[in-house]
Amino acid sequence: MGQHTVEPSITAACGFLTAVDSPPHGLFGGYLLVDMAGRPLEFHCTAPLKVSRAQQILYGATLHSHLHGQQIGATLLAEGTLQPQVVLTDLESMLHVRPHTKLPVALVVRRDTPPTASSFYVGTACVSPPSDHPEHASQLRAAIETLVASVDLCEPFERIRAAIEEAQRH
């Protein structure tokens, strides 16, 4: 088992994008591309981003959307060599990556979170498509259906967090 070059014919079913705030290191971003069975094809992670107190004050409420959407999200999506059919994130602020990508990006949360009008359920996960891009909703549903039913849509984020923790230890 190990690291190898991905064959060009392989298509990623799904991309999982998230960020982990890990004081005192900073903010790490992780982007995992998986196949239909949820197995990893590519993984990209950022070096930690540190934000000063002055920057926090100046960016105010826009800080997280800027960090997650533009700095981390857009950077990571640009690194992927495979084109997933859909990108899922578990952070609402990460949805601000949408202006920087043509891929449909949806929010995934556990089923116990209140759904929005356009939300739909997949197993224990609740998927919220972008309300301002209705054309993405059907594309999202179709893409997620290609994943094997047993793949838990919330679980890959735990893998990303575990990998980022591992990266901090080494």
């Binding site: 190990g2 196949d35 069975a37 197995r39 992670c45 981003l49 990571l76 080494h170």
Partner: protein, 601 residues
């Protein structure tokens, strides 16, 4: 300022009491923010602008506009499954790995209920010796084991226990591993399921399983059960046949016994065979590094080495070093303290005991049956011991270990059957017990050290349909015996030798085990007992150990009792590790004799 702003951007400034003519100097349009919305846009203004100063001091706060560095990793994708996967359909009774509603037929109802409520998810963690970040990520980023099994469409005849999933997650990423679970926890099933998954993922293509001769058919049965789609070839028969079997290329799993591996060592080298995975069962067979068996096994070209054993430390710490010479050569050495050895071995060894992982396994009830020899037996015994000890004393420094052994064996045989009259107090006791067990429709296992004793017992216990199982029988005859004992209610007693019957057999439908005489090592006795007391046992297993009062049997038992915990000592990294087996000093001490001094040469 103009350079930094585009048409969609806004600039904010807190003006305080600045006059409006200052704003007129600004080249950009100015919008006044009403006081009611200002607090939402600005944090409390603690800035003190030096408005009276001619040139105010400016603090520059940089924007967050530098993209972070990114590390990227790409992983190999599992290849398309080979043909056998697509053509062989597992039996309808098989259950899917993640389907907890079809839980184990052998698991308790409580287990099933708890599993259904909260399915366990087993992560595959990278071994410590994997240092490359990409490889560590490869393991960490895999789905949990249950999902991998389910998405691979792998089905099992029975739902594995959670600790068995842990065992698979331990084996799969390791190139060198010792699965040292206590007997009866399903080591072979865990190894088969792990190698099955590795074959499925395209990680291994050529697997060799090496086991004792008597267990070859057991392994083929287990593989057929737990990995029905895998083609298996048993390497056996005459040299020409074996050459052909070794050379088979389209068979992913080959099974060979230790003797065949030793005999065909040169042939395997000549054919240039290399294996992706070699699994050795009853790995204590290679504990002696200088033995032909150990050398032959270690000479195999291989990528992964897994050792299965319920007794990784049978006699001394060197046993584990011997096994590690196959698993991870050079990783352990004889000079290590038990604590250091335990620490060095920790990431390669997984050992679970039944009391830790199988809370619901029926209890094992041990009882020592102390038997008074019959008067004739006692007299024969007394004479034999006195004569023997006298002879040893006369030999003085010339007395060797084999002389002591001979005397012990002779005395132990008399404890079984009086050599003069054929009387046996043990047999009388055993018959009484078996009468009751037979009447209740239950089955019993009776172990002895000697084939001759087994033969005698069979004649005496014919009314219970007693069957024999020992190394003097052919493999086919032994297999047939097991089948008859399993399925024919007329046979309620199986007589086994420790050598052939103590390992690998699944006889969990038997609820009574009798140790007619005692083996030299408690680990072997445990193995024998665990033929019945293992996963699938449907009720309490009663173990009766016969001990003849005031005989060599009692003395041996006392010595072994004191040394019983060596394996635990090593595996728990304790400081000192006494020998669990009988040393030369122990044997001489049984007769209050002093062992001869070794010569300097």
């Amino acid at each position: 300022m103009e350079d930094r702003l585009n048409q969609k951007s806004f600039g904010f400034t807190a003006l305080g009491r600045m006059r409006s003519w200052h704003l007129a100097q600004c080249p950009l349009p100015v919008v006044h923010v009403l006081p009611s919305i200002a607090p939402r846009l600005f944090r409390p203004a603690h800035l003190r602008l030096p408005i009276d100063s001619a040139t105010p001091h400016v603090v520059r706060v940089p924007l967050i506009d530098q993209r972070p560095a990114v590390q990227s990793y790409q992983f190999r994708h599992a290849p398309v499954p080979p043909a056998p996967w697509q053509t062989i359909v597992p039996p309808a009774s098989h259950v899917r790995a993640g389907d907890f509603s079809l839980a184990a037929d052998r698991a308790s109802a409580a287990d099933r209920a708890s599993a259904a409520l909260k399915p366990k998810r087993t992560r595959i963690l990278p071994p410590r010796d994997v240092v490359k970040m990409g490889e560590r990520f490869f393991f960490l980023l895999q789905p949990n084991l249950e999902t991998i099994l389910e998405t691979s469409h792998l089905e099992f005849p029975r739902q594995p226990f959670p600790f068995q999933f842990d065992g698979m997650a331990f084996l799969m990423p390791r190139h060198g591993a010792v699965l040292a679970d206590e007997m009866g926890l399903g080591k072979s099933m865990q190894a088969i399921s792990s190698l099955r998954l590795l074959v499925r993922l395209g990680e291994v293509r050529r697997v060799l399983v090496i086991c004792p001769k008597g267990l070859v058919s057991n392994w083929t049965r287990e593989i057929a059960d737990w990995a029905p789609e895998l083609l298996v070839a048993v390497v056996e028969g005459d040299p020409q046949r074996r050459r052909w079997q070794w050379a088979l290329e389209d068979v992913p799993v080959k099974v060979a016994n230790y003797e065949v591996v030793v005999r065909d060592r040169e042939l395997v080298a000549e054919l240039g065979l290399s294996f992706d995975l070699v699994v050795i069962d009853e790995a204590q067979r290679i504990k002696n590094r200088s033995s032909h068996t150990s050398q032959a096994v270690r000479s195999l070209s291989r990528n992964r080495s897994w050792a299965l054993t319920g007794t990784p430390v049978e006699n001394s710490a060197e046993d584990l070093v011997g096994i590690f010479e196959f698993v991870a050569p050079g990783h352990l050495s004889d000079s290590m303290s038990p604590r250091a050895m335990g620490a060095a071995a920790a990431d390669h060894v997984l050992r679970r005991t039944k009391d830790r992982v199988l809370k619901d396994l029926p209890p094992r009830l041990n009882r020592d049956e102390r038997i008074e020899l019959t008067a004739e037996q006692r007299e024969t015994y007394r004479r034999a011991e006195e004569e023997g000890v006298l002879r040893l004393s006369k030999m003085g420094q010339g007395a060797a270990i084999q002389h002591v052994f001979e005397l012990i064996l002779r005395l132990k045989q008399i404890c079984n059957f009086d050599t003069a009259t054929g009387e046996s107090a043990k047999l009388e006791c055993l018959e009484a017990e078996l009468d009751e067990i037979h009447a209740s429709g239950r089955k019993s296992l009776v172990f002895s050290q000697w084939v001759e004793t087994i033969g005698r017992l069979r004649g005496k216990l014919s009314r219970f349909g007693a069957l024999e199982y020992h190394g003097g029988m052919s493999t086919a005859a032994r297999d047939e015996t097991i089948e008859r004992f399993k399925h024919d209610p007329r046979h309620s007693v199986l007589l086994l030798s420790y050598g052939a019957g103590a390992v690998g057999l699944n006889l969990q439908f038997s609820q009574y085990v009798f140790l007619f005489d005692r083996w030299w090592n408690p680990a072997v006795e445990d193995q024998a007992i665990n033929r019945a007391h293992r996963i699938g046992a449907v009720g309490a297993v009663t173990v009766t150990r016969f001990l003849s009062v005031d005989t060599i049997e009692e003395r041996i038992d006392e010595v072994l009792r004191q040394k019983r915990d060596l394996s635990d000592t090593i595996l728990s990294q304790a400081e000192s590790a006494p020998s669990a087996g009988l040393t030369q000093s122990d044997l001489f001490a049984l007769f209050q004799l002093v062992p001869p001094q070794r010569s300097a040469a």
